[in-house]
Symmetry: C2
Subunit: 141 residues, 2 copies
Amino acid sequence: MDLVTALHAQGKRLTLQRSLVLEAIRRSRHHTTAEEIARRIREQHPQIDPSTVYRNLEALEELGLVTHTHLNDRITRWHRADVERHGHLVCRACGSEQEVPMASLEPLAARLRRDQGFEPDLAHSAIVGICRTCRSVPSGR
Amino acid sequence: MDLVTALHAQGKRLTLQRSLVLEAIRRSRHHTTAEEIARRIREQHPQIDPSTVYRNLEALEELGLVTHTHLNDRITRWHRADVERHGHLVCRACGSEQEVPMASLEPLAARLRRDQGFEPDLAHSAIVGICRTCRSVPSGR
DNA sequence: TTACCTGCAAACTGTTTGCCGCTGT
DNA sequence: ACAGCGGCAAACAGTTTGCAGGTAA
Protein backbone atom coordinates (compact mmCIF):
# COMPACT_ATOMS: atom_id res chain seq x y z
CA MET A 1 0.00 0.00 0.00
CA ASP A 2 1.33 3.36 -1.03
CA LEU A 3 1.66 6.03 1.63
CA VAL A 4 0.50 9.00 -0.45
CA THR A 5 -2.55 7.19 -1.81
CA ALA A 6 -3.57 6.02 1.63
CA LEU A 7 -3.09 9.49 3.06
CA HIS A 8 -5.24 11.19 0.44
CA ALA A 9 -8.00 8.67 0.93
CA GLN A 10 -8.36 9.94 4.49
CA GLY A 11 -7.62 13.60 3.99
CA LYS A 12 -4.34 13.25 5.78
CA ARG A 13 -1.13 14.98 4.83
CA LEU A 14 2.34 13.90 3.92
CA THR A 15 4.88 15.28 6.31
CA LEU A 16 8.52 14.54 6.88
CA GLN A 17 7.82 13.22 10.37
CA ARG A 18 5.14 10.89 9.09
CA SER A 19 7.29 9.31 6.44
CA LEU A 20 10.21 9.02 8.84
CA VAL A 21 8.06 7.04 11.25
CA LEU A 22 6.86 4.72 8.52
CA GLU A 23 10.38 4.30 7.23
CA ALA A 24 11.69 3.50 10.71
CA ILE A 25 9.08 0.77 11.12
CA ARG A 26 9.82 -0.68 7.69
CA ARG A 27 13.51 -0.77 8.46
CA SER A 28 13.27 -2.54 11.77
CA ARG A 29 13.25 -6.27 11.30
CA HIS A 30 11.14 -7.17 14.27
CA HIS A 31 8.60 -5.48 16.49
CA THR A 32 9.78 -2.11 17.72
CA THR A 33 8.59 0.27 20.36
CA ALA A 34 7.56 3.89 19.98
CA GLU A 35 10.52 4.90 22.11
CA GLU A 36 12.95 3.06 19.86
CA ILE A 37 11.45 4.65 16.77
CA ALA A 38 11.67 8.09 18.34
CA ARG A 39 15.24 7.47 19.41
CA ARG A 40 16.36 6.50 15.95
CA ILE A 41 14.61 9.37 14.25
CA ARG A 42 16.00 11.84 16.74
CA GLU A 43 19.53 10.78 15.93
CA GLN A 44 19.11 12.53 12.60
CA HIS A 45 16.30 14.95 13.51
CA PRO A 46 16.63 15.90 17.16
CA GLN A 47 13.84 18.44 16.90
CA ILE A 48 11.20 15.77 16.27
CA ASP A 49 9.27 15.16 19.45
CA PRO A 50 8.31 11.73 20.79
CA SER A 51 4.70 12.84 20.97
CA THR A 52 4.77 13.35 17.22
CA VAL A 53 5.91 9.77 16.85
CA TYR A 54 3.00 8.55 18.94
CA ARG A 55 0.54 10.64 16.94
CA ASN A 56 1.92 9.35 13.67
CA LEU A 57 1.86 5.74 14.77
CA GLU A 58 -1.83 6.19 15.44
CA ALA A 59 -2.33 7.86 12.07
CA LEU A 60 -0.43 5.15 10.21
CA GLU A 61 -2.45 2.51 11.98
CA GLU A 62 -5.68 4.22 10.89
CA LEU A 63 -4.31 4.12 7.36
CA GLY A 64 -3.83 0.39 7.70
CA LEU A 65 -0.11 0.62 7.05
CA VAL A 66 1.08 -0.47 10.47
CA THR A 67 -0.33 -2.45 13.38
CA HIS A 68 0.69 -3.17 16.92
CA THR A 69 0.90 -6.20 19.17
CA HIS A 70 1.38 -6.78 22.88
CA LEU A 71 4.01 -9.05 24.33
CA ASN A 72 4.31 -9.69 28.05
CA ASP A 73 4.98 -6.17 29.26
CA ARG A 74 3.09 -2.93 29.06
CA ILE A 75 4.89 -1.72 25.96
CA THR A 76 3.16 -1.50 22.59
CA ARG A 77 5.11 -3.12 19.74
CA TRP A 78 4.77 -1.82 16.21
CA HIS A 79 5.34 -3.39 12.83
CA ARG A 80 4.32 -2.99 9.24
CA ALA A 81 0.90 -4.34 8.40
CA ASP A 82 1.87 -6.12 5.19
CA VAL A 83 4.13 -8.63 6.85
CA GLU A 84 3.00 -12.22 7.27
CA ARG A 85 0.87 -12.51 10.39
CA HIS A 86 2.05 -14.81 13.14
CA GLY A 87 1.49 -15.54 16.80
CA HIS A 88 3.94 -14.93 19.61
CA LEU A 89 5.01 -17.17 22.46
CA VAL A 90 6.67 -15.35 25.35
CA CYS A 91 8.37 -17.16 28.21
CA ARG A 92 7.53 -15.68 31.57
CA ALA A 93 10.67 -17.17 33.09
CA CYS A 94 13.39 -16.01 30.73
CA GLY A 95 11.53 -13.49 28.59
CA SER A 96 12.44 -15.17 25.33
CA GLU A 97 9.98 -14.93 22.49
CA GLN A 98 9.31 -17.15 19.53
CA GLU A 99 6.97 -16.86 16.60
CA VAL A 100 4.38 -19.41 15.69
CA PRO A 101 2.69 -19.69 12.28
CA MET A 102 -0.97 -18.68 12.12
CA ALA A 103 -1.73 -22.14 10.77
CA SER A 104 -0.95 -23.55 14.20
CA LEU A 105 -3.46 -21.22 15.76
CA GLU A 106 -6.15 -21.55 13.15
CA PRO A 107 -7.85 -24.61 14.65
CA LEU A 108 -8.46 -22.64 17.84
CA ALA A 109 -9.70 -19.67 15.83
CA ALA A 110 -12.14 -21.94 13.99
CA ARG A 111 -13.34 -23.37 17.25
CA LEU A 112 -13.94 -19.96 18.82
CA ARG A 113 -15.80 -18.83 15.71
CA ARG A 114 -17.98 -21.90 15.77
CA ASP A 115 -18.61 -22.22 19.51
CA GLN A 116 -18.61 -18.60 20.62
CA GLY A 117 -19.28 -16.65 17.44
CA PHE A 118 -16.06 -14.82 18.27
CA GLU A 119 -13.55 -13.84 15.58
CA PRO A 120 -10.22 -13.84 17.40
CA ASP A 121 -7.11 -11.93 16.42
CA LEU A 122 -4.57 -14.42 17.65
CA ALA A 123 -1.67 -12.32 16.37
CA HIS A 124 -2.55 -9.36 18.54
CA SER A 125 -1.40 -10.52 21.97
CA ALA A 126 1.34 -12.93 22.83
CA ILE A 127 0.68 -16.26 24.48
CA VAL A 128 2.51 -16.36 27.79
CA GLY A 129 3.95 -19.53 29.22
CA ILE A 130 7.15 -21.45 29.83
CA CYS A 131 9.54 -22.16 26.99
CA ARG A 132 11.20 -25.48 26.27
CA THR A 133 14.50 -24.46 27.82
CA CYS A 134 13.00 -23.19 31.06
CA ARG A 135 10.75 -26.23 31.37
CA SER A 136 13.76 -28.49 31.28
CA VAL A 137 15.56 -26.69 34.08
CA PRO A 138 15.43 -29.07 37.13
CA SER A 139 14.13 -26.95 39.99
CA GLY A 140 14.75 -23.80 38.08
CA ARG A 141 14.14 -20.23 38.89
CA MET B 1 -5.32 -22.97 51.00
CA ASP B 2 -5.24 -21.36 54.40
CA LEU B 3 -3.76 -17.90 54.70
CA VAL B 4 -1.91 -18.41 57.97
CA THR B 5 -0.36 -21.70 56.89
CA ALA B 6 0.77 -20.24 53.59
CA LEU B 7 2.21 -17.21 55.32
CA HIS B 8 4.26 -19.21 57.78
CA ALA B 9 5.64 -21.37 55.02
CA GLN B 10 7.29 -18.29 53.58
CA GLY B 11 8.15 -16.42 56.75
CA LYS B 12 5.52 -13.81 56.03
CA ARG B 13 3.29 -12.17 58.57
CA LEU B 14 -0.40 -11.86 59.14
CA THR B 15 -1.50 -8.27 59.13
CA LEU B 16 -4.86 -6.58 58.97
CA GLN B 17 -4.07 -5.05 55.58
CA ARG B 18 -3.05 -8.38 54.15
CA SER B 19 -6.20 -10.17 55.17
CA LEU B 20 -8.34 -7.27 54.00
CA VAL B 21 -6.81 -7.49 50.53
CA LEU B 22 -7.38 -11.23 50.36
CA GLU B 23 -10.92 -10.82 51.64
CA ALA B 24 -11.65 -8.12 49.07
CA ILE B 25 -10.51 -10.41 46.26
CA ARG B 26 -12.52 -13.31 47.60
CA ARG B 27 -15.62 -11.17 47.80
CA SER B 28 -15.46 -9.77 44.30
CA ARG B 29 -17.21 -12.09 41.89
CA HIS B 30 -15.11 -11.34 38.83
CA HIS B 31 -11.68 -9.96 38.11
CA THR B 32 -10.95 -6.79 40.01
CA THR B 33 -8.28 -4.16 39.78
CA ALA B 34 -5.87 -3.02 42.48
CA GLU B 35 -7.52 0.38 42.45
CA GLU B 36 -10.94 -1.11 43.05
CA ILE B 37 -9.62 -3.21 45.91
CA ALA B 38 -7.95 -0.19 47.44
CA ARG B 39 -11.09 1.88 47.03
CA ARG B 40 -13.25 -0.66 48.82
CA ILE B 41 -10.82 -1.18 51.66
CA ARG B 42 -10.38 2.54 52.13
CA GLU B 43 -14.10 2.98 52.61
CA GLN B 44 -13.68 1.28 55.97
CA HIS B 45 -9.98 1.94 56.57
CA PRO B 46 -9.05 5.24 54.96
CA GLN B 47 -5.54 5.13 56.40
CA ILE B 48 -4.57 2.10 54.31
CA ASP B 49 -2.47 3.23 51.39
CA PRO B 50 -2.86 1.99 47.80
CA SER B 51 0.82 1.08 47.74
CA THR B 52 0.15 -1.34 50.57
CA VAL B 53 -2.51 -2.97 48.43
CA TYR B 54 -0.06 -3.39 45.57
CA ARG B 55 2.56 -4.85 47.89
CA ASN B 56 0.07 -7.29 49.35
CA LEU B 57 -1.23 -8.39 45.99
CA GLU B 58 2.32 -9.32 45.11
CA ALA B 59 2.78 -11.12 48.43
CA LEU B 60 -0.48 -13.03 48.06
CA GLU B 61 0.50 -14.03 44.55
CA GLU B 62 3.81 -15.37 45.85
CA LEU B 63 1.83 -17.38 48.36
CA GLY B 64 -0.18 -18.86 45.52
CA LEU B 65 -3.45 -17.55 46.88
CA VAL B 66 -4.23 -15.11 44.11
CA THR B 67 -3.26 -14.65 40.48
CA HIS B 68 -3.68 -11.98 37.85
CA THR B 69 -4.72 -11.81 34.23
CA HIS B 70 -4.57 -9.20 31.49
CA LEU B 71 -7.57 -8.16 29.45
CA ASN B 72 -7.31 -5.67 26.61
CA ASP B 73 -6.09 -2.64 28.54
CA ARG B 74 -3.04 -1.98 30.61
CA ILE B 75 -4.72 -2.79 33.90
CA THR B 76 -3.84 -5.88 35.92
CA ARG B 77 -6.88 -7.93 36.99
CA TRP B 78 -6.79 -9.96 40.17
CA HIS B 79 -8.71 -13.00 41.33
CA ARG B 80 -8.42 -15.87 43.74
CA ALA B 81 -6.22 -18.71 42.59
CA ASP B 82 -8.54 -21.53 43.62
CA VAL B 83 -11.25 -20.63 41.15
CA GLU B 84 -11.74 -22.72 38.03
CA ARG B 85 -9.34 -21.54 35.34
CA HIS B 86 -10.79 -20.20 32.13
CA GLY B 87 -9.85 -18.16 29.10
CA HIS B 88 -11.12 -14.70 28.23
CA LEU B 89 -12.43 -13.33 24.97
CA VAL B 90 -12.46 -9.55 24.78
CA CYS B 91 -14.15 -7.64 21.96
CA ARG B 92 -12.04 -4.78 20.68
CA ALA B 93 -15.11 -3.07 19.26
CA CYS B 94 -17.48 -3.00 22.23
CA GLY B 95 -15.18 -4.05 25.06
CA SER B 96 -17.43 -6.92 26.15
CA GLU B 97 -15.76 -9.94 27.65
CA GLN B 98 -16.80 -13.55 27.83
CA GLU B 99 -15.25 -16.56 29.43
CA VAL B 100 -14.31 -19.72 27.63
CA PRO B 101 -13.68 -23.11 29.29
CA MET B 102 -10.09 -24.31 29.37
CA ALA B 103 -11.22 -27.43 27.56
CA SER B 104 -11.80 -25.32 24.43
CA LEU B 105 -8.24 -24.06 24.60
CA GLU B 106 -6.59 -27.33 25.50
CA PRO B 107 -6.13 -28.58 21.92
CA LEU B 108 -4.07 -25.49 21.14
CA ALA B 109 -2.11 -25.96 24.35
CA ALA B 110 -1.38 -29.55 23.39
CA ARG B 111 -0.26 -28.46 19.96
CA LEU B 112 2.10 -25.79 21.31
CA ARG B 113 3.56 -28.27 23.77
CA ARG B 114 4.11 -30.81 21.04
CA ASP B 115 5.33 -28.53 18.23
CA GLN B 116 7.14 -25.83 20.15
CA GLY B 117 7.91 -27.41 23.50
CA PHE B 118 6.11 -24.44 24.98
CA GLU B 119 3.79 -24.77 27.97
CA PRO B 120 1.25 -21.98 27.49
CA ASP B 121 -0.82 -20.34 30.17
CA LEU B 122 -3.89 -19.62 28.10
CA ALA B 123 -5.76 -18.20 31.06
CA HIS B 124 -3.23 -15.45 31.62
CA SER B 125 -4.01 -13.05 28.79
CA ALA B 126 -7.28 -12.47 27.05
CA ILE B 127 -7.83 -13.32 23.41
CA VAL B 128 -8.76 -10.12 21.58
CA GLY B 129 -11.13 -10.10 18.64
CA ILE B 130 -14.65 -9.23 17.53
CA CYS B 131 -17.63 -10.64 19.37
CA ARG B 132 -20.69 -12.18 17.77
CA THR B 133 -22.80 -9.05 18.20
CA CYS B 134 -20.26 -6.68 16.70
CA ARG B 135 -19.56 -9.03 13.80
CA SER B 136 -23.22 -8.98 12.86
CA VAL B 137 -23.41 -5.20 12.74
CA PRO B 138 -23.74 -4.30 9.01
CA SER B 139 -21.07 -1.69 8.36
CA GLY B 140 -20.42 -1.28 12.03
CA ARG B 141 -17.98 0.93 13.79
C1' DT C 1 -6.67 29.78 3.06
C1' DT C 2 -7.76 26.44 6.05
C1' DA C 3 -7.52 22.12 8.03
C1' DC C 4 -4.15 19.40 9.55
C1' DC C 5 0.07 18.94 11.80
C1' DT C 6 4.01 20.02 14.86
C1' DG C 7 7.03 21.08 19.04
C1' DC C 8 6.80 22.06 23.66
C1' DA C 9 5.38 21.53 28.19
C1' DA C 10 2.49 19.59 31.22
C1' DA C 11 -0.70 16.17 32.64
C1' DC C 12 -2.13 11.42 33.28
C1' DT C 13 -2.59 6.43 34.71
C1' DG C 14 -1.16 2.50 36.85
C1' DT C 15 2.39 1.11 39.50
C1' DT C 16 6.89 1.09 42.14
C1' DT C 17 10.23 2.70 45.49
C1' DG C 18 12.85 4.92 49.45
C1' DC C 19 12.51 6.15 53.89
C1' DC C 20 11.73 5.32 58.58
C1' DG C 21 9.04 4.35 62.36
C1' DC C 22 5.90 0.45 63.83
C1' DT C 23 4.46 -4.43 64.82
C1' DG C 24 3.84 -9.48 64.43
C1' DT C 25 6.18 -13.49 65.95
C1' DA D 1 14.52 -8.02 69.44
C1' DC D 2 14.43 -7.92 64.75
C1' DA D 3 12.94 -8.99 60.22
C1' DG D 4 8.92 -7.95 57.93
C1' DC D 5 5.52 -4.50 57.19
C1' DG D 6 2.89 -0.02 56.73
C1' DG D 7 2.07 4.95 55.63
C1' DC D 8 3.66 8.71 53.21
C1' DA D 9 5.53 11.15 49.48
C1' DA D 10 7.95 11.04 45.56
C1' DA D 11 9.42 8.82 41.42
C1' DC D 12 8.57 6.10 37.51
C1' DA D 13 7.41 4.54 32.48
C1' DG D 14 4.75 4.85 28.74
C1' DT D 15 1.68 7.58 26.75
C1' DT D 16 -1.73 11.46 25.99
C1' DT D 17 -3.21 16.20 25.73
C1' DG D 18 -3.70 21.50 25.31
C1' DC D 19 -1.95 25.07 23.14
C1' DA D 20 -0.34 28.28 19.66
C1' DG D 21 2.20 28.83 15.77
C1' DG D 22 3.62 26.47 11.26
C1' DT D 23 2.78 24.04 6.82
C1' DA D 24 0.75 20.89 3.13
C1' DA D 25 -2.73 21.00 -0.26
